[in-house]
């Protein structure tokens, strides 16, 4: 065993010396390799973290949301629909939801205005998210002006600011009383934005959804399961930016593999020839090339993963920020929670380290089986 280890160490010593002889090329290779791993790992960590957090946070979202559609657009729903739905067997409760968007011309941002289910907010008051507080420099006790549907200015006092930790769900939120909501947007009291529904037995949810669709054909039903699936599929690999990043990484790996698999440089072939001439066996040459592949790919993998972890969970994915922000004025400041597991690293390892190492060995095996004399000429 000791002899075996010593042999491996000798080969690694030789491999490292060989790599250092082509220092410039190999350092560049390691840098690019590390960057590719870093990019892939960052995307993987970020997406997994968001998905996992969404699945936990949204598990208490409304069981069913019922929206009215007219000409392919979401329209206000009459409160009379509530009575019809309540009569369906298995329905435990139906609640109206009042929510909408408000464009604030002062900062050019869109807010989500919402009337909370319980009457937490009194008329004349609002509770705002941290994003709005930051952008509008509005704090507890300040008043914020809103322009109503009929052009009147409504002053509302900021009663409270939602916690910093809840930004992922509340950054652009304005909680407002029903009276103020209706004063702001107008409309009849007989209409609400949509309905939420709770059922007695969750297993009957799809049956009840079918009954509602038959009873009220102009409605669209969104189940909680669909909400959760939406966030499970968010940042899907087919998404525009995702595919660009993945294609970039894939292309880089194809170039690496092509460079290796298309054959060795004259210098490398000569080196193999000399090694064989001085007594190295084919298996030794292959072992050396295996270690060469491992030194480059495994080192890059480790550093790439560590940098990606720091980037996503310490620097809040600073490199992705411009893409995530888009044209938004309000941007939630949140630190993804590090939900990482060994399977993520294993996937990344098999995607990055294994193909490169294999691509390094194959041409070396071909060169190592050729007569040393012909290789050295």
């Amino acid at each position: 065993m000791g002899k075996w280890i010593e042999r491996q160490r000798n080969i690694i010593d030789f491999t490292l010396s060989s790599l250092l002889r082509r220092k410039g090329k190999n350092v560049a290779l390691v840098c690019v390799y590390t960057f590719v791993v870093f990019l892939l790992a960052s995307v993987m960590f970020f997406i997994h973290s968001i998905k996992k957090e969404a699945s936990i946070i949204l598990k208490d979202a409304p069981e069913m949301v019922i929206q009215r559609m007219i000409a392919g657009r979401h329209e206000l729903i009459p409160t009379g629909y509530m009575d019809k739905i309540k009569n369906i067997r298995g329905v435990s409760s139906v609640k109206p939801r009042l929510w909408g968007y408000y464009y604030d011309p002062v900062i050019g941002a869109n807010y989500t205005l919402m009337v909370p289910e319980n009457s937490d907010v009194h008329a004349g008051n609002i509770i705002i998210g941290q994003g709005i507080s930051r952008a509008r420099l509005a704090f507890e006790g300040d008043s914020m002006e809103f322009r109503s549907h009929d052009g009147k200015i409504i002053d509302l006092e900021v009663k409270n600011i939602l916690s910093l930790e809840s930004e992922l769900v509340s950054s652009d939120l304005v909680l407002i009383s029903e009276d103020d909501f209706r004063r702001l947007f107008g409309g009849s009291k007989e209409y609400v934005t949509d309905l939420t529904l709770h059922v007695k037995n969750p297993r009957e949810l799809s049956t009840i959804a079918v009954k509602i669709a038959e009873l009220l054909p102009d409605t669209r039903i969104i189940l909680r399961d669909e909400i959760l699936r939406t966030y499970d599929a968010v940042f899907n690999w087919r998404g525009g930016m995702m595919i660009v990043i993945l294609l970039g990484a894939l292309l880089a790996f194809i170039i690496f593999a092509w460079d290796k698999a298309s054959g060795l440089s004259q210098e490398e072939r000569k080196e193999i020839g000399i090694l064989k001439a001085i007594g190295w066996e084919t298996s030794d040459v292959i072992l050396m090339k295996f270690w060469e592949g491992m030194v480059v790919s495994f080192s890059s993998f480790l550093v790439g993963v560590l940098l990606a972890y720091g980037h996503v969970f310490f620097a809040s994915s600073a490199l992705f920020e411009p893409a995530l922000k888009g044209w938004a004025v309000l941007y939630p400041r949140f630190k993804p929670v590090p939900f990482i597991d060994a399977s993520q690293l294993a996937t990344l390892f098999f995607l990055t380290v294994v193909p490169y190492t294999v691509a390094t060995i194959i041409p070396s095996w071909r060169a190592a089986t050729v007569d040393p004399d012909s290789v050295m000429r």
Binding site: I57, L58, H74, S166, L168, V234, L306, G326, P332, P338
Partner: protein, 119 residues
């Protein structure tokens, strides 16, 4: 075999330099320790954040929220689960979906399934 005799230790003027393989293994060990610490940190941070995640879940339940506030630039990316296939094109019938976040996220999977059946 010749490799068994290769020590890899270079000596010059009586001073022995460290074997390259030792340096490499030291480098690997440091990285592996950092990798292990990464998992420790993730676990620790996960426990610390559990309270805040619970707080967010409670807010979702209490207010009746349906979505995460990831992108605030367009209604269909602000409320991803409430979007439909038309939302992105509501500005005008010929308007193309043009918000950057629209290129990051797709429509809800439920919609695509229904559309698939129709095609």
């Amino acid at each position: 075999m010749i490799l068994n005799g290769y020590s890899g230790v270079h000596s010059s003027k009586g001073i022995k330099s460290v074997r390259k393989s030792n340096l490499f293994f030291l480098y690997l060990t440091i990285n592996m320790i950092l990798l292990f610490l990464m998992f420790v940190h993730a676990s620790f941070q996960g426990n610390t954040e559990a309270r805040f995640i619970k707080e967010k879940a409670e807010m979702v339940r209490r207010i009746g929220l349906t979505d995460l506030c990831l992108f605030t630039e367009a209604s269909y990316t602000r409320h991803l689960s409430q979007a439909d296939l038309h939302t992105a094109f509501q500005d005008s019938p010929m308007s193309l979906e043009h918000f950057p976040s629209g290129s990051l996220v797709g429509p809800p999977p439920g919609l695509r399934k229904i559309n698939g059946k129709m095609d």
